[in-house]
Symmetry: C2
Subunit: 316 residues, 2 copies
């Protein structure tokens, strides 16, 4: 690790490398929500997801000695691609331990960014990753339980608040808790009064239960949801601490609610969005978090990595 | 009409009503193009297309007396929706003469914006429109051969040049010539050296031929192309004058080239784009307009009004 991580410092570190993503508004979504909604379009981030921010901040926070050792993670999804690209841009070697059954498209993208892939059985990923670390000395960049990743993810919220000013609430999806704890950190640093509201898939409400009990609740099985980016069994230790300090609420949404939000984002806001990327909007539209009339609300559209045929099927 | 129209004045008029659309970059597109490409995302404009800019400028340029008479046009596409919304926001009545065979989704959207629709046979649209104007005294807002529409459309280029600075070239689709002549006007007003390059569908090269001969060439039939927004038989008189002064080149692209550009925009840039909206990028990628190595190039992504199933079929 490389000392204290702040969102402000992460922002300077990734400036000009990560995109400053656009904030989009859509009258049809405002009408549905009964609020003024600002969509922070992380689907338009490099590699198509907010994950690039944390990966980029993590790689750029490495010491020279750590850079020489290279980085490693285990992931079959957006974090793999984010870390692979961030490492390539910095001239750092990246190893991704990836389950055999990862989608070929994600495997190809990760290879395309120049990472070395170590295939494994899904249930062995952590063990294989540990063995590789032992063998190569590579530095682990955990997908969410990592201060560098959290601060990097927080830059999305910092940019949004800079651009649109104070918000009554900000809705973010919660998987492992990297994006949401980053949002909390950004609000803390800024002293912004915004209520951070986390959104989980139904049947995957471990973050809410973890915050209620003050300890990490781990689901017995991976939650069944169309939001593949939110199929995590628990949040991380660092994430729990930060969420516990600052999170206003966590609510759950059904697949049908995610699908309806996805439809609005694709058909009305004209954004290619993956199901996880529609979860936060689904949370807002559920009405489960009460808002004042005419509220100003941020929504993080966290990713866009879905192929057009799958998107069409989801909306069919 | 209401006096001289400049892009600068149009910009002030539509400020805060039309979106200032984001400029998006995408490393995969830069690689394909061998250039630094700035995508001006008019697919993210209100009503999902640049057409709202001109319609908004036109309605806001009306005198009080003209506002009271209401506005009228004939269109089955994005101009209908743009004018319907611009009129509703200004409290002006709008009549759209629309062929019976217009897509139901566009009919519904136009009605949703509060316009009155007068159905007609496709071949009678101009006659029906003229009869309605006669009967009601409504003010015609032509889709492209109109100084207010051209100046309004030019605001997209003015915003782009403001945001990214000088460009070597700007690629724009050419249907009736509203967007492209607006781009020329914006470059003229700014004294910008940018080469404006128009892109037409193969078999619909009336703009190139019109510019070569200095008079409007009208195609015998509507060009067969997947780019439904570019199925025009000729450009307008005002458009020809402006294009003749300032346009660097016009080139043609095939449906396959449009499809390949569409795939990059959807799969890599994560934008929902209609085929016409991918034509300008197809023109850049065709290499038919020579560019210096490492050129800085603008591309107008003109619209996003396509349903997800159709988009998936186009890319299938």
């Amino acid at each position: 690790m490389s000392g204290a991580q702040t969102v402000g410092a992460a922002r300077q570190r990734i400036h000009g490398i990560a995109h400053r993503t656009p904030v989009h508004t859509c009258a049809a979504i405002d009408r549905e929500a009964g609020a003024r909604v600002f969509l922070k379009c992380e689907s338009l981030q490099r590699v198509g997801a907010f994950k690039f921010r944390g990966a980029c901040n993590a790689v750029l926070s490495l010491s020279q000695e750590e850079r020489a050792r290279g980085v490693i993670t285990h992931s079959s999804g957006n974090h793999a691609q984010g870390l692979a690209l961030a490492a390539r841009l910095a001239g750092v070697a990246a190893t991704i331990v990836m389950p055999h059954d990862a989608p070929e498209v994600k495997r190809a993208a990760t290879l395309g960014y120049g990472a070395r892939i170590v295939p494994c059985d899904a249930r062995d990923r952590e063990a294989v990753c540990a063995a590789e670390m032992e063998r190569t000395g590579a530095v682990l960049i955990h997908p969410y339980d990592d201060d560098r990743i959290i601060a990097g993810a927080g830059t999305a919220t910092a940019e949004l608040l800079d651009e649109v000013g104070d918000l009554d609430a900000l809705f973010v999806p919660v998987g492992g808790g990297g994006l949401s704890s980053g949002a909390c950190l950004a609000a803390e640093e800024r002293g912004a009064p915004v209520a951070i509201v986390g959104v989980e898939p139904e049947g995957g409400d471990d973050a809410r239960r973890s915050l209620e009990t003050g300890r990490i609740v781990t689901l017995d099985t991976v939650p069944a949801t169309i939001a593949d980016g939110l199929r995590t069994r628990s949040i991380g230790e660092r994430n729990l601490v930060i969420l516990g300090r600052r999170m206003a609420a966590v609510l759950a949404v059904s697949d049908d609610e995610i699908r309806a939000a996805l439809r609005l984002l694709v058909e009305r806001a004209k954004l290619v969005v993956e199901p996880s990327g529609a979860a936060a909007l689904a949370g807002l539209l559920s009405g489960r978090h009460a808002l004042p009339a005419g509220a100003r609300v941020g929504v993080v559209v966290s990713g866009g990595n879905v192929d057009p045929a799958a998107m069409s099927r989801l909306l069919g």
